[in-house]
Symmetry: C2
Subunit: 331 residues, 2 copies
Protein backbone atom coordinates (compact mmCIF):
# COMPACT_ATOMS: atom_id res chain seq x y z
CA UNK A 1 0.00 0.00 0.00
CA UNK A 2 1.54 3.29 -1.13
CA UNK A 3 1.83 6.06 1.42
CA UNK A 4 2.39 9.74 0.74
CA UNK A 5 4.03 12.08 3.26
CA UNK A 6 4.60 15.84 3.09
CA UNK A 7 7.94 17.07 4.40
CA UNK A 8 9.18 20.59 5.08
CA UNK A 9 11.55 21.12 2.13
CA UNK A 10 12.91 24.49 3.30
CA UNK A 11 12.08 27.33 5.66
CA UNK A 12 10.14 30.19 4.06
CA UNK A 13 11.42 33.75 3.87
CA UNK A 14 8.28 35.86 4.23
CA UNK A 15 5.17 34.35 2.62
CA UNK A 16 5.51 30.58 2.16
CA UNK A 17 5.19 29.04 -1.29
CA UNK A 18 4.77 25.56 -2.79
CA UNK A 19 8.60 25.27 -2.72
CA UNK A 20 8.43 24.70 1.05
CA UNK A 21 6.73 21.31 0.61
CA UNK A 22 8.15 18.02 -0.59
CA UNK A 23 6.05 14.93 -1.27
CA UNK A 24 7.60 11.57 -0.47
CA UNK A 25 6.16 8.19 -1.38
CA UNK A 26 6.88 5.10 0.69
CA UNK A 27 5.28 1.83 1.67
CA UNK A 28 2.51 2.13 4.30
CA UNK A 29 3.79 0.92 7.70
CA UNK A 30 2.41 -2.00 9.69
CA UNK A 31 1.38 -1.61 13.32
CA UNK A 32 3.47 -3.49 15.89
CA UNK A 33 2.12 -4.88 19.15
CA UNK A 34 0.44 -2.00 21.04
CA UNK A 35 0.04 0.09 17.90
CA UNK A 36 -2.69 1.00 15.44
CA UNK A 37 -2.54 1.83 11.73
CA UNK A 38 -4.35 5.07 11.05
CA UNK A 39 -5.82 6.25 7.78
CA UNK A 40 -6.02 10.03 7.63
CA UNK A 41 -9.52 11.28 6.79
CA UNK A 42 -9.33 15.05 7.39
CA UNK A 43 -6.23 17.21 7.74
CA UNK A 44 -6.34 20.60 9.40
CA UNK A 45 -4.39 23.55 8.02
CA UNK A 46 -3.99 26.40 10.51
CA UNK A 47 -2.31 29.81 10.57
CA UNK A 48 -0.24 28.95 13.67
CA UNK A 49 1.66 26.39 11.59
CA UNK A 50 3.41 29.25 9.79
CA UNK A 51 5.29 29.96 13.03
CA UNK A 52 6.46 26.36 13.22
CA UNK A 53 8.08 26.73 9.79
CA UNK A 54 10.58 29.21 11.26
CA UNK A 55 13.62 28.09 13.20
CA UNK A 56 13.82 29.18 16.82
CA UNK A 57 11.82 29.19 19.99
CA UNK A 58 8.10 29.86 19.84
CA UNK A 59 5.13 28.45 21.70
CA UNK A 60 5.43 25.16 19.84
CA UNK A 61 8.70 23.63 18.61
CA UNK A 62 9.66 24.32 14.98
CA UNK A 63 9.16 21.81 12.19
CA UNK A 64 12.46 20.35 11.04
CA UNK A 65 13.61 20.62 7.43
CA UNK A 66 13.44 17.22 5.76
CA UNK A 67 10.98 15.92 8.35
CA UNK A 68 7.19 15.48 8.06
CA UNK A 69 4.98 18.44 8.83
CA UNK A 70 2.40 17.57 11.47
CA UNK A 71 -0.84 19.04 12.76
CA UNK A 72 -4.42 18.23 13.62
CA UNK A 73 -5.74 15.16 11.81
CA UNK A 74 -8.95 13.12 12.07
CA UNK A 75 -8.14 9.51 11.25
CA UNK A 76 -9.70 6.07 11.27
CA UNK A 77 -8.14 3.00 12.83
CA UNK A 78 -7.80 0.45 9.99
CA UNK A 79 -5.61 -2.09 11.76
CA UNK A 80 -5.28 -2.48 15.49
CA UNK A 81 -2.93 -4.20 17.90
CA UNK A 82 -4.18 -1.95 20.70
CA UNK A 83 -7.23 -2.96 22.74
CA UNK A 84 -8.53 0.50 23.53
CA UNK A 85 -8.68 1.53 19.86
CA UNK A 86 -10.41 -1.20 17.82
CA UNK A 87 -10.66 -1.10 14.02
CA UNK A 88 -13.24 1.48 12.99
CA UNK A 89 -12.46 3.87 15.84
CA UNK A 90 -12.25 7.50 14.76
CA UNK A 91 -9.61 9.60 16.49
CA UNK A 92 -8.25 13.14 16.47
CA UNK A 93 -4.70 14.10 17.34
CA UNK A 94 -1.48 15.70 16.26
CA UNK A 95 -0.28 13.49 13.42
CA UNK A 96 2.07 13.79 10.45
CA UNK A 97 0.80 14.97 7.07
CA UNK A 98 0.74 11.38 5.89
CA UNK A 99 -1.92 9.13 4.39
CA UNK A 100 -1.15 6.20 6.67
CA UNK A 101 0.64 6.38 10.00
CA UNK A 102 1.18 4.17 13.01
CA UNK A 103 0.60 5.29 16.57
CA UNK A 104 0.71 3.85 20.06
CA UNK A 105 -2.42 5.84 20.83
CA UNK A 106 -0.74 8.41 23.09
CA UNK A 107 -2.14 11.90 22.48
CA UNK A 108 -4.99 10.51 20.41
CA UNK A 109 -8.55 11.20 21.46
CA UNK A 110 -11.36 8.94 20.31
CA UNK A 111 -14.26 10.98 19.01
CA UNK A 112 -17.98 10.26 18.75
CA UNK A 113 -19.39 10.04 15.22
CA UNK A 114 -23.00 10.83 16.08
CA UNK A 115 -22.87 14.35 17.54
CA UNK A 116 -21.45 16.45 14.73
CA UNK A 117 -19.54 15.96 11.47
CA UNK A 118 -16.26 14.32 12.51
CA UNK A 119 -14.25 17.08 10.83
CA UNK A 120 -15.70 19.47 13.45
CA UNK A 121 -13.21 17.98 15.91
CA UNK A 122 -10.63 19.97 13.96
CA UNK A 123 -12.82 23.08 14.19
CA UNK A 124 -15.81 23.93 16.35
CA UNK A 125 -15.18 21.05 18.77
CA UNK A 126 -11.40 21.05 18.45
CA UNK A 127 -8.49 23.42 18.77
CA UNK A 128 -10.10 26.48 17.10
CA UNK A 129 -13.39 26.19 18.99
CA UNK A 130 -11.60 25.73 22.30
CA UNK A 131 -9.32 28.65 21.49
CA UNK A 132 -12.40 30.81 21.02
CA UNK A 133 -14.05 29.40 24.14
CA UNK A 134 -11.20 29.93 26.62
CA UNK A 135 -9.85 33.12 25.07
CA UNK A 136 -13.21 34.84 25.11
CA UNK A 137 -14.76 33.42 28.25
CA UNK A 138 -11.69 33.26 30.49
CA UNK A 139 -9.54 36.18 29.30
CA UNK A 140 -12.18 38.64 28.07
CA UNK A 141 -14.99 37.60 30.43
CA UNK A 142 -17.57 39.54 28.39
CA UNK A 143 -20.63 40.87 30.22
CA UNK A 144 -24.07 41.37 28.72
CA UNK A 145 -24.30 44.75 27.02
CA UNK A 146 -20.57 45.11 26.46
CA UNK A 147 -19.03 45.63 23.03
CA UNK A 148 -16.81 42.85 21.68
CA UNK A 149 -14.60 43.22 18.60
CA UNK A 150 -13.24 40.13 16.82
CA UNK A 151 -10.62 40.36 14.07
CA UNK A 152 -10.38 37.54 11.57
CA UNK A 153 -14.03 37.03 12.39
CA UNK A 154 -14.83 34.78 9.44
CA UNK A 155 -12.06 32.37 10.36
CA UNK A 156 -12.50 29.16 12.32
CA UNK A 157 -11.75 30.82 15.67
CA UNK A 158 -13.33 34.20 14.99
CA UNK A 159 -16.73 32.93 13.94
CA UNK A 160 -17.02 30.95 17.16
CA UNK A 161 -15.85 33.93 19.26
CA UNK A 162 -18.56 36.14 17.77
CA UNK A 163 -21.32 33.62 18.35
CA UNK A 164 -20.18 32.98 21.93
CA UNK A 165 -20.20 36.73 22.57
CA UNK A 166 -23.78 36.87 21.24
CA UNK A 167 -24.74 34.00 23.58
CA UNK A 168 -23.33 36.20 26.40
CA UNK A 169 -25.52 39.13 25.33
CA UNK A 170 -22.85 41.40 23.85
CA UNK A 171 -22.77 43.78 20.91
CA UNK A 172 -20.45 42.02 18.45
CA UNK A 173 -18.36 43.59 15.70
CA UNK A 174 -16.31 41.46 13.34
CA UNK A 175 -13.68 42.30 10.75
CA UNK A 176 -13.07 40.16 7.68
CA UNK A 177 -11.49 40.47 4.26
CA UNK A 178 -14.35 40.27 1.72
CA UNK A 179 -17.94 41.40 1.25
CA UNK A 180 -18.99 37.75 1.12
CA UNK A 181 -17.46 37.12 4.52
CA UNK A 182 -19.07 40.27 5.90
CA UNK A 183 -22.47 39.10 4.65
CA UNK A 184 -21.86 35.70 6.23
CA UNK A 185 -21.02 37.28 9.61
CA UNK A 186 -24.29 39.26 9.55
CA UNK A 187 -26.10 36.00 8.86
CA UNK A 188 -24.35 34.43 11.89
CA UNK A 189 -25.78 37.20 14.09
CA UNK A 190 -22.88 39.67 14.28
CA UNK A 191 -24.25 43.17 14.93
CA UNK A 192 -21.69 44.79 12.66
CA UNK A 193 -19.16 43.43 10.22
CA UNK A 194 -16.42 45.41 8.48
CA UNK A 195 -14.51 44.56 5.32
CA UNK A 196 -11.06 45.74 6.39
CA UNK A 197 -9.80 45.67 2.81
CA UNK A 198 -12.25 48.31 1.59
CA UNK A 199 -13.26 50.27 4.73
CA UNK A 200 -11.44 53.09 6.46
CA UNK A 201 -10.74 50.92 9.49
CA UNK A 202 -10.64 53.59 12.25
CA UNK A 203 -13.76 55.32 10.93
CA UNK A 204 -15.69 52.10 10.44
CA UNK A 205 -14.80 50.78 13.89
CA UNK A 206 -15.64 54.07 15.57
CA UNK A 207 -19.04 54.08 13.88
CA UNK A 208 -19.66 50.43 14.76
CA UNK A 209 -18.65 50.88 18.42
CA UNK A 210 -20.37 54.08 19.60
CA UNK A 211 -19.93 52.99 23.23
CA UNK A 212 -16.27 52.04 22.85
CA UNK A 213 -14.73 48.57 23.04
CA UNK A 214 -14.76 46.42 26.18
CA UNK A 215 -13.35 43.20 24.75
CA UNK A 216 -11.14 42.54 21.76
CA UNK A 217 -10.31 39.08 20.49
CA UNK A 218 -7.34 39.57 18.20
CA UNK A 219 -6.48 37.04 15.51
CA UNK A 220 -4.88 39.49 13.12
CA UNK A 221 -2.87 42.40 14.59
CA UNK A 222 -1.61 45.37 12.63
CA UNK A 223 -3.87 48.23 11.53
CA UNK A 224 -7.09 46.70 12.91
CA UNK A 225 -5.52 46.35 16.33
CA UNK A 226 -4.16 49.91 16.25
CA UNK A 227 -7.67 51.21 15.59
CA UNK A 228 -9.19 49.12 18.39
CA UNK A 229 -6.63 50.40 20.93
CA UNK A 230 -7.95 53.92 20.28
CA UNK A 231 -11.46 52.84 21.27
CA UNK A 232 -10.77 50.91 24.47
CA UNK A 233 -13.04 51.54 27.41
CA UNK A 234 -11.81 51.56 30.99
CA UNK A 235 -10.82 48.04 32.12
CA UNK A 236 -10.95 46.58 28.62
CA UNK A 237 -9.71 43.02 28.07
CA UNK A 238 -7.82 41.88 24.99
CA UNK A 239 -7.28 38.21 24.21
CA UNK A 240 -4.26 38.01 21.96
CA UNK A 241 -4.75 34.85 19.94
CA UNK A 242 -3.05 35.40 16.60
CA UNK A 243 -1.22 37.96 14.49
CA UNK A 244 -1.71 36.67 10.97
CA UNK A 245 -1.03 40.17 9.58
CA UNK A 246 2.54 39.78 10.85
CA UNK A 247 3.28 36.06 10.43
CA UNK A 248 5.04 36.46 7.10
CA UNK A 249 6.94 39.61 8.11
CA UNK A 250 10.68 39.33 7.46
CA UNK A 251 11.53 42.19 9.83
CA UNK A 252 10.22 42.98 13.31
CA UNK A 253 6.93 44.81 12.75
CA UNK A 254 6.85 48.42 13.90
CA UNK A 255 3.74 50.32 14.96
CA UNK A 256 2.25 52.76 17.42
CA UNK A 257 3.21 51.78 20.96
CA UNK A 258 0.09 50.44 22.71
CA UNK A 259 1.30 50.91 26.27
CA UNK A 260 -0.05 54.45 26.69
CA UNK A 261 -3.56 53.38 25.70
CA UNK A 262 -3.49 50.32 27.94
CA UNK A 263 -2.21 52.42 30.82
CA UNK A 264 -4.79 55.20 30.66
CA UNK A 265 -7.65 52.70 30.42
CA UNK A 266 -6.32 50.12 32.93
CA UNK A 267 -6.70 47.54 30.18
CA UNK A 268 -5.30 44.05 29.90
CA UNK A 269 -3.55 42.50 26.90
CA UNK A 270 -3.15 38.76 27.44
CA UNK A 271 -1.39 36.44 25.04
CA UNK A 272 -2.47 32.81 25.16
CA UNK A 273 -2.44 29.47 23.43
CA UNK A 274 -5.18 26.93 23.83
CA UNK A 275 -2.81 24.44 25.46
CA UNK A 276 -2.65 26.82 28.47
CA UNK A 277 -6.12 25.43 29.19
CA UNK A 278 -5.40 21.74 28.62
CA UNK A 279 -6.95 20.57 31.91
CA UNK A 280 -10.23 22.35 31.07
CA UNK A 281 -10.57 21.01 27.50
CA UNK A 282 -13.20 18.35 28.30
CA UNK A 283 -15.39 21.00 29.96
CA UNK A 284 -15.01 23.24 26.88
CA UNK A 285 -15.84 20.48 24.39
CA UNK A 286 -18.89 19.53 26.45
CA UNK A 287 -20.25 23.08 26.53
CA UNK A 288 -19.57 23.72 22.83
CA UNK A 289 -21.19 20.41 21.90
CA UNK A 290 -24.22 21.32 24.00
CA UNK A 291 -24.63 24.76 22.41
CA UNK A 292 -24.15 23.23 18.96
CA UNK A 293 -26.79 20.61 19.69
CA UNK A 294 -29.19 23.37 20.80
CA UNK A 295 -28.65 25.24 17.54
CA UNK A 296 -26.95 28.16 19.29
CA UNK A 297 -23.68 27.74 17.39
CA UNK A 298 -23.23 27.38 13.67
CA UNK A 299 -19.99 26.39 12.02
CA UNK A 300 -18.60 26.66 8.53
CA UNK A 301 -15.82 24.79 6.77
CA UNK A 302 -13.92 25.37 3.55
CA UNK A 303 -13.12 21.83 2.47
CA UNK A 304 -10.50 21.11 -0.16
CA UNK A 305 -10.29 17.53 -1.51
CA UNK A 306 -7.18 15.45 -1.99
CA UNK A 307 -4.00 14.75 -0.04
CA UNK A 308 -1.96 16.54 -2.71
CA UNK A 309 -3.98 19.74 -2.08
CA UNK A 310 -2.79 20.19 1.54
CA UNK A 311 -0.05 22.73 0.68
CA UNK A 312 -2.45 24.71 -1.53
CA UNK A 313 -5.05 24.87 1.25
CA UNK A 314 -2.41 25.96 3.74
CA UNK A 315 -1.08 28.71 1.47
CA UNK A 316 -4.64 29.94 0.93
CA UNK A 317 -4.92 30.82 4.65
CA UNK A 318 -2.59 33.78 4.11
CA UNK A 319 -4.65 35.02 1.18
CA UNK A 320 -7.87 34.81 3.19
CA UNK A 321 -9.32 32.17 0.88
CA UNK A 322 -11.17 30.25 3.58
CA UNK A 323 -14.39 31.10 5.33
CA UNK A 324 -14.44 29.27 8.63
CA UNK A 325 -12.23 26.26 9.12
CA UNK A 326 -9.88 25.26 6.32
CA UNK A 327 -9.91 21.49 6.07
CA UNK A 328 -8.49 19.04 3.57
CA UNK A 329 -10.48 15.86 3.00
CA UNK A 330 -7.83 13.30 2.16
CA UNK A 331 -9.82 10.07 2.03
CA UNK B 1 -2.89 86.31 55.85
CA UNK B 2 -1.41 86.09 52.32
CA UNK B 3 -2.03 82.95 50.33
CA UNK B 4 -0.15 81.80 47.27
CA UNK B 5 -1.70 79.50 44.64
CA UNK B 6 -0.13 77.95 41.55
CA UNK B 7 -2.33 77.90 38.44
CA UNK B 8 -1.83 76.16 35.12
CA UNK B 9 -0.88 79.08 32.88
CA UNK B 10 -0.87 77.14 29.61
CA UNK B 11 -0.70 73.59 28.34
CA UNK B 12 2.82 72.35 27.51
CA UNK B 13 3.90 71.24 24.04
CA UNK B 14 6.38 68.46 24.73
CA UNK B 15 8.50 68.97 27.84
CA UNK B 16 6.87 71.40 30.30
CA UNK B 17 8.72 74.57 31.35
CA UNK B 18 8.33 77.25 34.02
CA UNK B 19 6.04 79.08 31.58
CA UNK B 20 3.27 76.59 32.38
CA UNK B 21 2.95 77.88 35.96
CA UNK B 22 1.43 81.10 37.23
CA UNK B 23 1.63 82.23 40.86
CA UNK B 24 -1.36 84.10 42.23
CA UNK B 25 -1.53 85.84 45.61
CA UNK B 26 -4.80 86.29 47.46
CA UNK B 27 -6.13 86.52 50.98
CA UNK B 28 -6.25 83.21 52.89
CA UNK B 29 -9.85 81.95 53.09
CA UNK B 30 -11.83 81.41 56.31
CA UNK B 31 -13.56 78.11 57.01
CA UNK B 32 -17.36 78.17 57.11
CA UNK B 33 -19.50 75.91 59.32
CA UNK B 34 -18.50 72.29 58.55
CA UNK B 35 -15.13 73.29 57.09
CA UNK B 36 -11.50 73.37 58.14
CA UNK B 37 -8.67 75.70 57.18
CA UNK B 38 -5.64 73.70 56.05
CA UNK B 39 -2.02 74.78 55.99
CA UNK B 40 -0.04 72.84 53.39
CA UNK B 41 3.07 71.18 54.86
CA UNK B 42 4.32 68.89 52.09
CA UNK B 43 3.34 68.94 48.42
CA UNK B 44 3.86 65.90 46.19
CA UNK B 45 5.09 66.28 42.61
CA UNK B 46 4.48 63.19 40.50
CA UNK B 47 5.09 62.15 36.89
CA UNK B 48 1.40 61.32 36.31
CA UNK B 49 0.60 65.03 36.67
CA UNK B 50 2.19 65.63 33.27
CA UNK B 51 -0.75 63.79 31.70
CA UNK B 52 -3.22 66.05 33.48
CA UNK B 53 -1.60 69.07 31.84
CA UNK B 54 -2.84 67.87 28.45
CA UNK B 55 -6.40 68.46 27.31
CA UNK B 56 -8.50 65.38 26.65
CA UNK B 57 -9.56 62.16 28.28
CA UNK B 58 -7.07 60.20 30.35
CA UNK B 59 -7.32 58.24 33.59
CA UNK B 60 -7.77 61.45 35.60
CA UNK B 61 -9.47 64.61 34.30
CA UNK B 62 -7.17 67.29 32.87
CA UNK B 63 -6.14 70.39 34.81
CA UNK B 64 -7.86 73.48 33.46
CA UNK B 65 -5.90 76.48 32.20
CA UNK B 66 -6.25 79.37 34.64
CA UNK B 67 -7.26 77.05 37.47
CA UNK B 68 -5.16 75.74 40.38
CA UNK B 69 -3.08 72.64 39.86
CA UNK B 70 -3.85 69.99 42.46
CA UNK B 71 -2.26 66.83 43.76
CA UNK B 72 -1.23 64.99 46.87
CA UNK B 73 -0.67 67.28 49.86
CA UNK B 74 -0.02 66.68 53.55
CA UNK B 75 -1.59 69.52 55.53
CA UNK B 76 -2.34 70.57 59.08
CA UNK B 77 -5.72 71.76 60.32
CA UNK B 78 -5.14 75.28 61.68
CA UNK B 79 -8.79 76.31 62.11
CA UNK B 80 -11.71 73.95 62.44
CA UNK B 81 -15.48 74.16 62.24
CA UNK B 82 -15.65 70.40 61.69
CA UNK B 83 -15.81 68.08 64.70
CA UNK B 84 -14.02 65.11 63.18
CA UNK B 85 -10.92 67.18 62.27
CA UNK B 86 -9.83 69.27 65.27
CA UNK B 87 -7.06 71.86 65.08
CA UNK B 88 -3.70 70.10 64.95
CA UNK B 89 -4.97 67.14 62.91
CA UNK B 90 -2.65 66.16 60.08
CA UNK B 91 -4.32 65.01 56.88
CA UNK B 92 -3.41 63.82 53.40
CA UNK B 93 -5.55 64.32 50.32
CA UNK B 94 -5.85 65.73 46.86
CA UNK B 95 -5.60 69.49 47.40
CA UNK B 96 -4.74 72.54 45.32
CA UNK B 97 -1.16 73.79 45.09
CA UNK B 98 -1.99 76.47 47.61
CA UNK B 99 -0.54 77.49 50.97
CA UNK B 100 -3.90 77.70 52.70
CA UNK B 101 -7.10 76.05 51.58
CA UNK B 102 -10.51 75.26 53.01
CA UNK B 103 -12.11 71.84 52.89
CA UNK B 104 -15.26 70.12 54.11
CA UNK B 105 -13.09 67.13 54.92
CA UNK B 106 -14.35 64.93 52.12
CA UNK B 107 -11.53 62.93 50.51
CA UNK B 108 -9.16 63.81 53.33
CA UNK B 109 -7.58 61.09 55.38
CA UNK B 110 -6.28 61.80 58.87
CA UNK B 111 -2.80 60.35 59.31
CA UNK B 112 -0.88 59.22 62.38
CA UNK B 113 2.22 61.24 63.23
CA UNK B 114 4.01 58.56 65.24
CA UNK B 115 4.57 55.74 62.74
CA UNK B 116 6.68 57.33 60.03
CA UNK B 117 7.64 60.81 58.80
CA UNK B 118 4.32 62.40 57.79
CA UNK B 119 5.64 63.09 54.28
CA UNK B 120 5.77 59.30 53.78
CA UNK B 121 2.00 59.43 53.33
CA UNK B 122 2.83 60.98 49.94
CA UNK B 123 5.35 58.21 49.28
CA UNK B 124 5.91 54.85 50.88
CA UNK B 125 2.56 54.87 52.71
CA UNK B 126 0.68 56.84 50.06
CA UNK B 127 -0.06 56.71 46.37
CA UNK B 128 3.40 55.58 45.16
CA UNK B 129 3.80 52.86 47.81
CA UNK B 130 0.31 51.53 47.15
CA UNK B 131 0.96 51.64 43.41
CA UNK B 132 4.00 49.44 43.95
CA UNK B 133 2.12 47.17 46.35
CA UNK B 134 -0.93 46.42 44.18
CA UNK B 135 0.86 46.50 40.84
CA UNK B 136 3.50 44.03 41.92
CA UNK B 137 1.54 41.79 44.27
CA UNK B 138 -1.80 41.68 42.44
CA UNK B 139 -0.82 41.99 38.77
CA UNK B 140 2.64 40.40 38.72
CA UNK B 141 2.11 37.95 41.59
CA UNK B 142 5.85 37.21 41.84
CA UNK B 143 6.89 33.80 43.13
CA UNK B 144 10.08 33.05 45.03
CA UNK B 145 12.94 32.43 42.64
CA UNK B 146 11.41 34.34 39.75
CA UNK B 147 13.15 37.25 38.03
CA UNK B 148 11.56 40.68 38.38
CA UNK B 149 12.61 43.73 36.36
CA UNK B 150 11.66 47.24 37.50
CA UNK B 151 12.20 50.30 35.32
CA UNK B 152 12.48 53.69 36.99
CA UNK B 153 13.72 51.69 39.94
CA UNK B 154 15.16 54.63 41.88
CA UNK B 155 11.87 56.48 41.76
CA UNK B 156 9.27 56.53 44.52
CA UNK B 157 7.31 53.60 43.07
CA UNK B 158 10.24 51.62 41.69
CA UNK B 159 12.27 51.45 44.89
CA UNK B 160 9.28 50.03 46.74
CA UNK B 161 8.58 47.52 43.96
CA UNK B 162 12.13 46.20 44.13
CA UNK B 163 12.10 45.82 47.89
CA UNK B 164 8.71 44.10 47.84
CA UNK B 165 10.01 41.68 45.21
CA UNK B 166 12.99 40.93 47.47
CA UNK B 167 10.58 40.29 50.37
CA UNK B 168 8.88 37.77 48.06
CA UNK B 169 12.18 36.00 47.38
CA UNK B 170 12.76 37.11 43.79
CA UNK B 171 15.85 38.02 41.79
CA UNK B 172 15.42 41.77 41.24
CA UNK B 173 16.88 43.90 38.46
CA UNK B 174 16.38 47.65 38.39
CA UNK B 175 17.09 50.29 35.77
CA UNK B 176 17.86 53.90 36.66
CA UNK B 177 19.49 56.94 35.08
CA UNK B 178 22.75 57.56 36.98
CA UNK B 179 25.59 55.67 38.62
CA UNK B 180 24.57 57.17 41.98
CA UNK B 181 21.08 55.74 41.63
CA UNK B 182 22.50 52.38 40.58
CA UNK B 183 24.71 52.32 43.68
CA UNK B 184 21.70 53.22 45.82
CA UNK B 185 19.66 50.35 44.37
CA UNK B 186 22.41 47.86 45.20
CA UNK B 187 22.41 49.23 48.73
CA UNK B 188 18.63 48.66 48.89
CA UNK B 189 19.18 44.99 48.06
CA UNK B 190 18.58 44.89 44.30
CA UNK B 191 20.52 41.97 42.79
CA UNK B 192 21.40 43.93 39.67
CA UNK B 193 21.04 47.57 38.70
CA UNK B 194 21.62 49.04 35.26
CA UNK B 195 22.34 52.65 34.29
CA UNK B 196 20.22 52.84 31.15
CA UNK B 197 21.93 56.04 30.05
CA UNK B 198 25.37 54.42 29.75
CA UNK B 199 24.68 50.69 29.29
CA UNK B 200 23.78 48.80 26.13
CA UNK B 201 20.30 48.06 27.44
CA UNK B 202 19.58 44.73 25.67
CA UNK B 203 23.02 43.36 26.48
CA UNK B 204 22.96 44.49 30.09
CA UNK B 205 19.47 43.09 30.69
CA UNK B 206 20.30 39.79 29.02
CA UNK B 207 23.36 39.45 31.25
CA UNK B 208 21.42 40.41 34.37
CA UNK B 209 18.55 38.01 33.63
CA UNK B 210 20.17 34.71 32.61
CA UNK B 211 16.94 32.86 33.39
CA UNK B 212 14.70 35.31 31.51
CA UNK B 213 12.12 37.67 32.95
CA UNK B 214 8.98 36.53 34.75
CA UNK B 215 7.67 39.87 36.00
CA UNK B 216 8.20 43.38 34.71
CA UNK B 217 7.01 46.48 36.52
CA UNK B 218 7.18 49.24 33.95
CA UNK B 219 7.38 52.89 34.95
CA UNK B 220 9.25 54.07 31.89
CA UNK B 221 8.45 52.43 28.54
CA UNK B 222 10.50 52.88 25.38
CA UNK B 223 13.81 51.14 24.80
CA UNK B 224 13.96 49.45 28.23
CA UNK B 225 10.56 47.90 27.65
CA UNK B 226 11.51 46.74 24.15
CA UNK B 227 14.53 44.92 25.60
CA UNK B 228 12.47 43.29 28.37
CA UNK B 229 9.89 41.98 25.87
CA UNK B 230 12.69 40.01 24.20
CA UNK B 231 13.47 38.24 27.48
CA UNK B 232 9.99 37.25 28.64
CA UNK B 233 9.52 33.77 29.97
CA UNK B 234 6.37 31.74 29.40
CA UNK B 235 3.41 33.22 31.33
CA UNK B 236 5.24 36.44 32.21
CA UNK B 237 3.27 39.27 33.87
CA UNK B 238 3.82 42.93 33.13
CA UNK B 239 2.36 45.65 35.35
CA UNK B 240 2.13 48.77 33.23
CA UNK B 241 2.35 51.64 35.68
CA UNK B 242 3.97 54.54 33.84
CA UNK B 243 5.57 55.57 30.59
CA UNK B 244 7.67 58.55 31.58
CA UNK B 245 9.86 58.06 28.48
CA UNK B 246 6.82 59.00 26.39
CA UNK B 247 4.97 61.57 28.51
CA UNK B 248 6.46 64.55 26.75
CA UNK B 249 6.16 63.08 23.26
CA UNK B 250 4.40 65.40 20.83
CA UNK B 251 3.63 62.61 18.37
CA UNK B 252 2.31 59.10 18.98
CA UNK B 253 5.38 57.01 19.89
CA UNK B 254 6.31 54.26 17.45
CA UNK B 255 8.18 51.09 18.31
CA UNK B 256 8.44 47.35 17.78
CA UNK B 257 5.01 45.76 18.10
CA UNK B 258 4.93 43.76 21.36
CA UNK B 259 2.01 41.50 20.45
CA UNK B 260 4.10 38.76 18.87
CA UNK B 261 6.25 38.40 21.99
CA UNK B 262 3.25 38.40 24.32
CA UNK B 263 1.52 35.82 22.14
CA UNK B 264 4.35 33.32 21.90
CA UNK B 265 4.97 33.47 25.67
CA UNK B 266 1.29 33.62 26.80
CA UNK B 267 2.21 36.76 28.70
CA UNK B 268 0.01 39.43 30.22
CA UNK B 269 0.41 43.19 29.90
CA UNK B 270 -1.92 44.93 32.36
CA UNK B 271 -2.33 48.70 32.60
CA UNK B 272 -3.48 49.98 35.97
CA UNK B 273 -3.83 52.98 38.22
CA UNK B 274 -3.75 52.75 41.99
CA UNK B 275 -7.35 53.95 42.25
CA UNK B 276 -8.41 50.64 40.66
CA UNK B 277 -7.61 49.23 44.12
CA UNK B 278 -9.32 51.90 46.24
CA UNK B 279 -11.29 49.44 48.40
CA UNK B 280 -8.07 47.60 49.33
CA UNK B 281 -6.01 50.72 50.24
CA UNK B 282 -6.33 50.32 54.02
CA UNK B 283 -5.03 46.75 53.78
CA UNK B 284 -2.10 47.97 51.67
CA UNK B 285 -1.19 50.82 54.02
CA UNK B 286 -1.37 48.44 56.97
CA UNK B 287 0.99 45.90 55.35
CA UNK B 288 3.46 48.56 54.14
CA UNK B 289 3.48 50.21 57.58
CA UNK B 290 4.15 46.83 59.19
CA UNK B 291 7.07 46.00 56.87
CA UNK B 292 8.46 49.51 57.35
CA UNK B 293 8.21 49.13 61.13
CA UNK B 294 10.03 45.79 60.88
CA UNK B 295 12.87 47.41 58.92
CA UNK B 296 12.06 45.40 55.78
CA UNK B 297 11.35 48.48 53.68
CA UNK B 298 13.49 51.57 53.33
CA UNK B 299 12.37 54.76 51.68
CA UNK B 300 14.11 57.79 50.24
CA UNK B 301 12.89 61.30 49.53
CA UNK B 302 14.33 64.18 47.57
CA UNK B 303 12.95 67.16 49.47
CA UNK B 304 12.97 70.66 47.98
CA UNK B 305 12.11 73.56 50.28
CA UNK B 306 9.75 76.42 49.57
CA UNK B 307 6.32 76.82 48.03
CA UNK B 308 7.83 78.76 45.14
CA UNK B 309 10.03 75.73 44.29
CA UNK B 310 7.09 73.43 43.44
CA UNK B 311 7.34 74.00 39.65
CA UNK B 312 11.11 73.46 39.72
CA UNK B 313 10.72 70.19 41.63
CA UNK B 314 8.03 69.05 39.20
CA UNK B 315 10.16 69.86 36.14
CA UNK B 316 13.08 67.98 37.69
CA UNK B 317 11.08 64.72 37.51
CA UNK B 318 11.56 64.64 33.76
CA UNK B 319 15.29 65.16 34.05
CA UNK B 320 15.59 62.34 36.58
CA UNK B 321 16.77 64.70 39.33
CA UNK B 322 15.04 62.90 42.17
CA UNK B 323 16.01 59.70 43.91
CA UNK B 324 12.95 58.27 45.55
CA UNK B 325 9.97 60.49 46.19
CA UNK B 326 10.13 64.10 45.05
CA UNK B 327 8.54 66.22 47.77
CA UNK B 328 8.33 69.95 48.36
CA UNK B 329 8.35 71.09 51.96
CA UNK B 330 6.26 74.22 51.88
CA UNK B 331 5.96 75.11 55.60
Amino acid sequence: MQNQTILLASRPQGEPTAAQFQFETSEAPSPAEGQVLLKALYVSVDPYMRGRMNAGKSYVPPFEVGQPISGGVVAEVIESQLDKLPVGSVVVGNLPWQQYSVSDGRGLQQIPTDQAPISYFLGLLGMPGLTAYFGLLDICQPKAGETVVVSGAAGAVGMVVGQLAKIKGCRVIGTAGSDEKVAYLKQLGFDEAINYKTANIPEALTAAAPNGVDCYFDNVGGAITDAVYDLLNKHARIALCGQIANYNATEAPIGPRPEGKLLTTSSKLQGFIVSDYLPQWPEGVKQLTEWYGQGKLQFEETITEGFDQIPTAFLGLFRGENTGKAIVKVA
